[in-house]
């Protein structure tokens, strides 16, 4: 048995198969029989062509072998030989048809070819000797299929109203032109039409196009072409994907198709930019927050009035009580001008005794350098502490050279000497053997310069007098030429500067440095006095030291006048401190929760 080649896919199928087992295309419907009344109408070459169709395994019956001309039979034999594989036996002649072909021809109703060929076909008919090619075989298949369609119509089966093969098929909207057909773009049997047939088809379609198109319905397609439609004729053997929901391709060569990969990625596909509104959409809550922020910003620069502090508080009352506790005894003691408390014993104070002995050992008209290095606020204490010492010095006939590293020192020195001369016994005999040399600029550097050369550091006194040229200071060329350097100091740093800058020069030359220090400075100067050897030969500390010196010198100085007030004030202060401490301890003991606050 010879297999039947599928007109669609060209694959062999068994003879009894009606549809292609590969593409499910109908095999027998592809037969084409020209719709001619009689075979006699056909030209010889066409009849021979029909006879040649019998050489191919088609489902439609062909012409009887006897009607096939020799040339056509020979061509058919050659064609068959071409289709045979090289390994097979040589092909038989065209007259020697195989059995299966004979059976087929017998089964098919033989219709005589009409001798009345159309004019166009007669004119276009080639010479009978022209060999048929494979393309011609294809279009003859169409003819045979048309014949089979006619038979089906005669048997009552539904058939298309038009022949199965028509040239109108080339006039589909998307069908290629004749030239494109020549290039082989068309697929299927019609794509292999020879050139002359294509030309005829084009002319016929132009002539009968309008009439045929009106008669043809778009859905009435040839059966073989209908069979090629996979959506209608082919049922997929395997489950297929439902592409109804897939998006259709909107651009590119695959436009309109669904379920295909897009030729243009989405991310590069041109599309109109999304439009965003420029108006900020703010919710009510956000508006409230914005309003609150604006209110805070508006209120920030406004000064907020501090809560009015109560005028009278416990702390305020307590401070007033302490002030009164201190002031009232002091006022009473000063106003009474009494001598209730004795002055401190000088013998119990080595510094005071050392000072007293120094002054006592000074020769007459001894040059003494006195530095007023304390601030005006300490004048009350320093005046009382140093008054007895300076009065003792002046009484011993010492010549004083007053200097100061403080800007207010020269004025304080003048005031100090004026207070000494205001004493009743000095009204008529004031102290005049002193020179106020003024201010030493430069701090420690100035002191160092003074220690090296007092004449160059302080050439004139405050009155512009050159005290070094004549008088008691004329013998002084260096700092060591002073018999005593007495520093009245209220600041520890200033005291240390004197010790560090002037002291070594004095000790080197055997001179003496002594100090009258404020009570707050004396503890820091004490090491210079207590050490061995002493850097400060004598030290008077505060009002108590001044009182001790007055006691030693038996003078009635300012220290004596304020000593009662001073003593009473210290007692009251100690009492206030003790009472305050006791109250604080008791308060914390009674209220443990307040502890630590």
């Amino acid at each position: 048995m010879t297999d039947i080649l599928c007109p669609v896919c060209g694959k062999p199928n068994p003879p009894e198969a009606e549809t292609c087992q590969f593409c499910q295309a109908p095999l027998k419907t592809s037969a084409f029989t020209p719709d001619f009344d009689e075979e006699s109408d056909l030209p010889d070459w066409l009849r021979s062509l029909n006879a040649d169709q019998n050489a191919f395994p088609v489902t439609s019956p062909a012409e009887e072998p006897s009607n096939v001309p020799d040339w056509l039979s020979s061509i058919g034999g050659e064609t068959k030989e071409k289709e045979q594989p090289p390994s097979e036996a040589p092909a038989e002649p065209a007259q020697e048809q195989p059995d299966w072909l004979t059976d087929l021809t017998k089964d098919q109703p033989v219709e005589p070819l009409s001798a009345d060929l159309p004019v166009w076909l007669s004119e276009q008919a080639p010479a009978p000797a022209t060999p048929l090619s494979d393309e011609k075989q294809d279009w003859t298949d169409g003819w045979t299929s048309g014949e089979q369609a006619a038979e089906q119509q005669a048997e009552g089966e539904p058939s298309p109203s038009v022949p199965a093969f028509t040239f109108d098929a080339f006039e589909e909207p998307e069908k290629p032109t004749a030239s494109e057909s020549e290039s082989g773009d068309m697929e299927g049997p019609l794509s292999t039409l020879p050139d002359w047939v294509a030309d005829v088809t084009a002319e016929e379609s132009e002539a009968e196009g309008g009439e045929d198109e009106a008669a043809l319905a778009p859905a009435q397609l040839p059966s073989w072409l209908e069979a090629m439609r996979p959506a209608e004729s082919d049922q997929p053997s395997t489950p297929t994907e439902d592409l109804s929901g897939a998006s259709a391709e909107s651009s590119g060569p695959l436009i309109g198709l669904r379920g295909v990969l897009s030729a243009e990625p989405i991310n590069i596909r041109m599309r109109r930019a999304a439009a965003y509104s420029l108006k900020l959409r703010v919710t009510d809550e956000q508006k409230q927050r914005v309003a609150l922020l604006e209110q805070l910003l508006a209120d920030e620069p406004k000064p907020k009035a501090l809560p009015a502090a109560p005028v009278i508080t416990a702390q305020y009352v307590f401070r007033l009580l302490i002030a009164l506790a201190l002031l009232l005894p002091v006022i009473w003691a000063v106003a009474s001008n009494g001598r209730l408390t004795p002055l401190p014993d000088a013998s119990a104070r080595p510094g005071v005794m050392a000072m007293y002995n120094l002054v006592e050992r000074l020769p007459a008209d001894a040059p003494v350098l006195v530095a007023f290095d304390y601030e005006a606020g300490y004048s009350g204490e320093m005046d009382a502490a140093a008054s007895a010492v300076l009065e003792h010095l002046l009484g011993r006939g010492a010549s004083l050279a007053l200097v100061s590293t403080s800007a207010t020192g020269p004025a304080l020195a003048e005031r100090f000497m004026a207070n000494l001369n205001q004493q009743p016994e000095r009204v008529n005999n004031p102290y005049t053997n002193y020179a106020n040399l003024g201010y030493i600029p430069g701090g420690s550097i100035g002191l160092y310069s003074l220690a090296k050369s007092p004449r160059q550091s302080l050439p004139y006194d405050l009155q512009g007098v050159d005290v070094w040229a004549s008088g008691p200071l004329s013998s002084v060329n260096g700092i060591a030429d002073f018999s005593l350097v007495l520093v009245l100091v209220s600041d520890p740093e200033t005291a240390r500067a004197w010790v560090e800058q002037v002291g070594p020069t004095l000790r080197q030359d055997g001179a003496v440095l002594a100090m009258v220090a404020s009570a707050q400075t004396a503890p820091l100067v004490q090491p210079y006095f207590s050490g061995n050897p002493r850097q400060v030969e004598a030290l008077i500390s505060g009002l108590a030291g001044g009182g001790a010196y007055e006691n030693a010198s038996a003078s009635n100085g300012p220290a004596r006048r304020v000593w009662d007030a001073y003593s009473l004030g210290l007692v009251v202060s100690v009492f206030v401190i003790l009472v305050g401490t006791a109250l604080d301890v008791t308060y914390k003991a009674l209220l443990p929760g307040k502890k630590g606050k």
Binding site: L326, V334, P441, I445, Y448, R496, A519, L524, Q535
Partner: protein, 230 residues
Amino acid sequence: MQTGLADIFGLIIGFLLTLMVLSYIIGDNFLFRLAMAIFVGVASGYAAVLVIYNVLWYQLIVPLLTNPTANLALTIPSALLGIWLLTKGSSRLARFGNPVLAFLVGVGAATAVGGAIFGTILPQFNASTNLLNLQYASPDGAGLVSWFIKGLVILVGTLVTLAYFHFGVRSQGEGSLPQRHPLIENFLAPAGQAFIAVTFGVLFAGVYAAALGALIDRVRFVLDIILRFL
């Protein structure tokens, strides 16, 4: 004692200013702030006058005028450096005064360091070593016990105070924090802390005594003025 009109006005002004300052007892007020402003202004003006009159005139210009040959080498460089330092008053020319300022700072630092070494550290070190030196004791032996106790207290106080400021620690091995030496931590440092506390107490007492002396002086001044005009 004759009292001039200026002295009377001075006393009255001093009296009023003293009361204005003492008004701080009832709290910060306008009178107190006014007195402070007056003091600052008067002190600044007085310092300016003093510098011009006492320093520039009598320590720079007058020596140059009276004996220019002897004082030229000293006064001219000082004057030039002083004028050069004025450039620090202008923000645009301030950088030109840096050399002079550097000279001042350098000389000041050298003076302070040299003075501290040779004026405080070495002499105090020497004095501490002689605290219990019998050579510095009383020749006749009077007060020897008190002298010894005094020297011993000063020596112990110095050592324990220095030990308190020794914050060096020693590793105690893996897993334990470094700690000070137990002797320092448990004995010397607390003793040093006690000495420091006593020192601060003495300083506070001195400050209070000085303030009390100033208060008594002002009270006495006020009463004296009141009694004088009464």
